[in-house]
Structures are given as C-alpha cells and as structure tokens.
Assembly symmetry: C2
Homo-oligomer: 432 residues x 2
C-alpha cells in the first residue's frame, strides 16, 4: 500500500514546513508594516504641512498678497522637504509593495497622490502670479490631501494583524477628522473675514462639524491609551468652548447680519491650534503603531524560534527512538505515524506537532475574528463614500448635500449611518 509515497520523514517535514511558513509569513507581514509605518508617518507630516500651506495660501490670496507672504515661503520650503521624505519612504517600500499581490489598489492610489503632488509647483507659481483664485487653490489642496489620506486608508486594508489594523483605523480617522477640521477652518475664515455666512456656508460648517465628530467617534473606538488621553485633554481645553460659540454664530447669524471682521483672525488661530493638537494625537497613534509593530515583530520572531526548537526536538526524538521507521516503508512505519500523530511521541514530549498545528489554527482564527471590527470600520467608511457618490450622481447634488441626505435618511429611519449607506448601495443595482 505504500508505493509511490514520499518517505515518512519528508511527509512529516512538509506539514512542519508549512507551519513554519505560516509563521514566517506573519513575520514578513510585520516587517512590511514597520516600513509602512514610516510611509504613514511621512504622509501625516506632509498632509499637516499642506493643510498649513492651504491656510496660508488662502490668507495670502485673500489679503491681495499683503499678508502671510513670508510664512508661506517658509512653508513651501518645508513642504518640499516633507514631500521629498514621502517620496523617499515610497522608494524604500516600492519593491515590497510590488511583490505584495494584493497591493495593486494601494499602488494605484500612490500613483494618483504623486501625480497630484506633481502639480503643486504649477499651482504655487500661479498663486505667486496672482493667477489662481482662492477656490482653485483650495480645491487642489483638498484633493491632494484626500489622495494622501486614501493611501493610508488603502494601506490599512492590507493589514492582517488586528491590533495593528486597529491603530491604522484610528490613524486614518484622526487624519480624516483633522482634514475636516482644516476645511472648517477655511469655511469659517471665509465667513468671518467677509462678515457674513450665507445659508450654503452655514450648512457647509454644520456638515464639516458633523463629519469631524463621526471620524473622532471611530478614532476613539480604536485609539491607543496615550492618544485617547490626549484627545480627552483636547476636548477639555477651554479653546473648545470658544470654538463652539463661534460655530454657533456662524450657523445662526444668517446672510444679513454682519460680524466683526477681526473674528476671522481669532477663528483662524483657534482652529490652527486645534489642528496642531490633533497632529500631536496623530503622532501619538503613529508612535503606538510603531511600538506595536516592533513588539509584535519581536514576539513573532521569538515564537518562530521557539517553534523551530520544538519541531527539531520532535524530529530528533522521532529519529532516535524509532530509527527503523524512517528508513522502512512498511506496516511498522505506519504504526509509528499513527503514534506520532495521536499520542506516542507527542505524549512523551508533552507537545506534538498536532498541538502546534492546532495552536496556530486557533491563533489565526482568533486573529481573524479580532480583525473583523477593524475591517468593518474601514468597510463602513468605504460604503458611506460609495453611498454619497451614488446620491450625488442620482440626484445631481453636491458632496455636502449627499452627506446631509444620508444623515437625514438615517435619522428618519432610526438607523445607524453605515446601515443606511449599506442599504442604499445594495439597492443601487436594483434601482439604476
């Protein structure tokens, strides 16, 4: 019955080999995310730089090139440096990414982000020449920042380790929330500096406040300890109350009353401070992410080594106590294989290869379950974006309006936003 079969040791070695390969695969994945951490950090820094440059550019253009010229020049210089760091981090990870078969969408989004950045010098020149409008400049900055955040979002999609995935989910949501905060700063500045908020601008302010809140809610669910206490400190800061009062003014003043134009500077400074604090929270998540990757990497290397030792000792014991079984190809060997698998050898050492296989399977199953909630948070975000796009196309409305409509549907139906978004997306096929 044993014709054509591989010799016993080879067959056993193969199960062990794949067990080791499964561990090695985890380690590779962690190495990859250690590199990915540097990329994410460089994205966060670049986004923050671009948000600052956006603010300065708007004030520069808004003041007829009178104000913020010096600050803007310094920021441009700094951002070129940050962009170079981002490109370097990309160059360092490029090969790894290309060999990673699921990263095709990530690579596509990186290409989009780089392409967007390539347009920056042209835009800046047009700003210098006063050829670009505030809205044109703002649009470019918003789009470019969105592309960069999408890179982090796509990176989070490729994580297989739950705690690491969770931290990237926290990261992408604090980044996104900070960007909404930046857009709110811009909207508020436009209103306060003109002394008026028309209905559209008030609605936009409300939308941005709500969008921020949603991002921070998700962030809180996945935040590291330190970043969470930084967040609580931010919330408790007296600045928040002042911001809240100014927001109330913005949404209730209406288009006819006029506001003190000096409030524009106050608003800009408050929101800038807030964004700087949000950047600190982001840095704290980044550092927790790095820390966690190193920790998991050390653990994984340790348990791989441990497993190697165990497997070697199992093989050695097998070879020394039952040498005949390794060379013979008959019934005796078969009996040994049975003992090996069930009790016999395994029982002697207290651990059998069966235990190791079981343990790895159990561990991976548990990880996949823990991963679920992080994946769901990402999926929710994706589904909401899809639902918003759908509404924009179907009803021919703006992004803001689509967000508002989605929230209204959720409120009317007493359901959670992601639920309504899912229902909408799943209906789309039927309705269109």
């Amino acid at each position: 019955m044993n014709t054509k079969r591989h010799p016993r040791m080879t067959a056993t070695a193969t199960a062990a080999e794949f067990l080791m390969a499964s561990r090695q695969c985890e380690i590779r994945n962690l190495e990859y995310f250690l590199q990915m951490g540097r990329l994410v950090q460089s994205v966060g820094n670049l986004v923050h730089g671009l948000q600052r440059e956006r603010g300065a550019t708007n004030l520069y253009l808004g003041s007829g090139c009178q104000r913020f010229a010096r600050e803007r020049t310094a920021m441009v210089k700094e951002n070129d440096q940050l962009a170079a760091t981002f490109r370097q981090a990309l160059a360092d990870i490029q090969e790894d990414l290309t060999t990673h078969p699921v990263s095709s969408p990530l690579l596509g989004h990186i290409a989009s982000a780089l392409h967007s950045l390539d347009q920056l010098p042209g835009l800046r020149q047009r700003v210098n020449d006063q050829e670009a409008s505030v809205s044109e400049a703002t649009e470019w900055f918003c789009d470019s920042i969105h592309q960069l955040i999408t890179v982090v979002f796509e990176a989070a999609e490729t994580v297989a380790e739950p705690s690491i995935a969770g931290l990237l989910v926290a990261m992408v949501h604090v980044m996104n929330g900070k960007e909404y905060c930046g857009q709110e700063r811009a909207a508020g500045s436009a209103g306060f500096s003109s002394g008026h908020f028309d209905n559209a601008l008030s609605r936009r302010m409300m939308h941005l406040v709500e969008a921020q809140e949603r991002c921070f809610e998700v962030f809180v669910g996945f935040a590291s300890e330190e970043s969470l206490s930084l967040w609580q400190a931010l919330r408790a800061h007296p600045r928040e109350l002042e911001i809240e009062r100014m927001r109330q003014m913005a949404v209730s003043v209406g288009p006819y009353k006029s506001l003190d134009k000096d409030m524009a500077d106050r608003w800009f400074n408050l929101m800038t401070e807030r964004m700087d604090d949000l950047k600190k929270i982001e840095d704290s998540v980044e550092s927790a992410f790095h820390h966690r990757c190193v920790e998991r990497y050390t653990e994984a290397r340790h348990s791989l080594a441990h497993q190697e030792t165990l497997l070697a000792s199992l093989e050695q014991r097998h070879a020394s106590t039952t040498p005949v079984l390794v060379v013979c190809d008959n019934g005796v060997e078969v009996g040994a294989a049975d003992a090996w698998a069930g009790e016999g050898v395994g029982q002697q050492s207290g651990r059998s290869i069966f235990d190791l296989v079981q343990e790895q399977t159990r561990r991976l199953r548990q990880m996949s379950e823990e991963l679920q909630s992080a994946k769901e948070a990402l999926e929710d975000r994706r589904t909401q974006e899809k639902a918003v796009l759908l509404l924009m196309e179907h009803r021919n409305i703006s992004n803001d309006e689509a967000h508002r409509l989605l929230r209204k549907l959720a409120m009317d139906q007493g359901k959670r936003l992601p639920e309504v978004a899912r229902a909408l997306v799943s209906m789309a096929g039927v309705l269109s």
Copy 2:
C-alpha cells in the same frame, strides 16, 4: 521655492513608476493564481479519491472485510499518487505563498491538511487489521476532506480579481456540495444496509440534503457557462428521481419498518454516479478558472506593454518639445508641469498620464465592487460556520442539530440564513 526638490523628470517618473507597479502587481497576482489553479485541481482530485476510498473502506469494514478489498487496494495506490501530486503542487507554490504576506492563514490550513494526511497510513493499517471502526474511519476521512476544502476556501479569500474569485467561490461550493453528497451516500448506505433508519439518521439525511442544496445554490450564482449546463444536465438526469424516491423512503420509513437490504447497493451506486458527475462539474469549473487566469494574464501583459509605450512616448515628447524644462529649476518648468498635468502635452497626444492614472483608479474601483459579491459569498459561509460553532458550544448540541436550529431560526423569522447567522455572531459578544 524649489530647493531640496527632486528634479522634475524624476518626480514625474515616480508617479508613472507606481502606475506601472500597480499593473505589475496585478500580473504577479495572476501568475500566482495560475499556480494556485494547479493546487486547487490537485485538491479536487485528492478529495474525490478520498471520498471514493471512504466509501470503499466503509463497505469493506461493514462486510467484515469480505467485499471491496481489491477495489480498496487499487484506490489506496491511486490516492497515494494523488497525495504526492498535491504535495508537489504545494512545493511548487510554497515560496510564492510564503512571500505573500496575507497568506498566513492559508499556510496554517495547509499545515493542518498535511498533518491530517500524515495520519492516513496509520488509519489504513488499522483498517487492514480490522482495528478501526466504520465511524472512526469515516470521521478521519470527513475531517481530512474538510481540511482540504478549507485550503481552497482560504485560497479564494486571497483573490483580488472578481471573475477569478467568482470561479473559486463556485469551485469551493461545488466541492462542499459534493462532500455533503458523499456524507449522504454514507448515511444512506448505513440505513439501507441495516434495513432501518432511526430518527437521528433520518434527520441527518435531511440535513445533508439541505446543506447540499444551499451549496449548489451559491455554485449556480458563480458558475461558468459549461459547468452550469453540466449541472442542469445532472438535475434533469432520471437518476435524480430515483435518488429522490429513496431519500423519501429514508426519511419516512421510521425505525420500526424494515427495508429491502439490496437497496443499499442500488443507493451506493446511484450516489457514486452522482458524485462522479459532480466531479465533472468541478473539473469544468477548474478548466474555466485556468482559462480565465490565462486570458486575464494575457490581457494584463498586453495592457502593461501598451501603458509602457504610452508613458515612454509621453516622456519622449515632453523631453523633445520642452528640453529646457528638464534642466531648469525655475518658473518656466513649473508652467510646463502644469501643462503636463492638465492640458498641454496631454492634449497633444490625446492621452496624458492623468488619464492613465484616472483609468487605473476607475478600473480598480470597479473591480473592487465586482469582487464584493464573491467576498460576500465567502463571508456568508464563514459566518454560518461561526454561528454553528457558537450554537454547538452554547447549547451543547451536535453540528447537525446546530445547522437545523439555525435553519429553524431563519424560517421562524422569515429571514435569509446568512442574516440570522450574522445576527447570532454579532450577539455572541453580548450574550456570553
């Protein structure tokens, strides 16, 4: 403003590089699935062989080692060959798998499957010596086949190309359905050969019939054209009516009446023919899968080459028409960058790098949407398995009973099975 910045051409080349990398990544993924196809095929063949050996082993043990001895010996020899082919396919793909960071669970399941196969010689010896019971042998075969099917299931999880993922979903469901059919063959054989069906056995028959139906429903949703017409031919075959009549007998005869024991052979032969036809359907899906991989691979290589040519011509035109821009680091260059991105160069050639980036992003988004339904089918299966495990643990009931309870819950609530399973799994955290 241009200090510390990479020279213009490098920056542009980088966006193009990542665009190319995104394509190359897709191609690598397709290469990987061409290899994976061989692995899936070897799994399908081995599972079929083990199902046949399971049937022969049961009949051999059931007849006091009088019948099927010769057939069984031939099957053992054949299956050793099939197992060797499976191990070879694994060896060929092992390196690729290990460098594929998301395949850690797949590798773990392969280790489990191999470990299970390592016990086969021991089991066979115990069958030869008449030391193994029918139920012990059946349990090993069922477990080992389940492990092998799980390998294909996990492989399907790693696909990023929608049509390929769909075919693997079809594959895994036809495999699973065929396995339930094999288990139904065994349950029916036990009943017909003893002349009785007790309540537990009747219920098991019903469960296996329903489980098959559900698998084939999903299969139909993702089947290739040829496999679908094979499936329709199977359904229309007169054999199906005869099987249906015997099933009715099995679930309605009760423990007290007795059946003609000759029916056992008839049942076994009918179900064996059915399984052989199901194997043909499986082979047809396999061949569609292979065909589709080759097709997509050729397409992808073609469009990569096309894209390379386009990018090269864009670069060349850029270099030849605006040579000064490449070397200068001033405002003129910036203007060109702007033209490059927006209209200028792009408009001349009819295609700009912007178009290419947009196209790739659009294509990937569309693929990710199409992929959704395949992923959902896999997720449904995973969730149902989880829900069944939960019910088994919570209520201390058997796998069959848990399946039945789940179906009852769905029926009572007028919901789809996956919905009820999802609700159960999501409640588990709250309830335990």
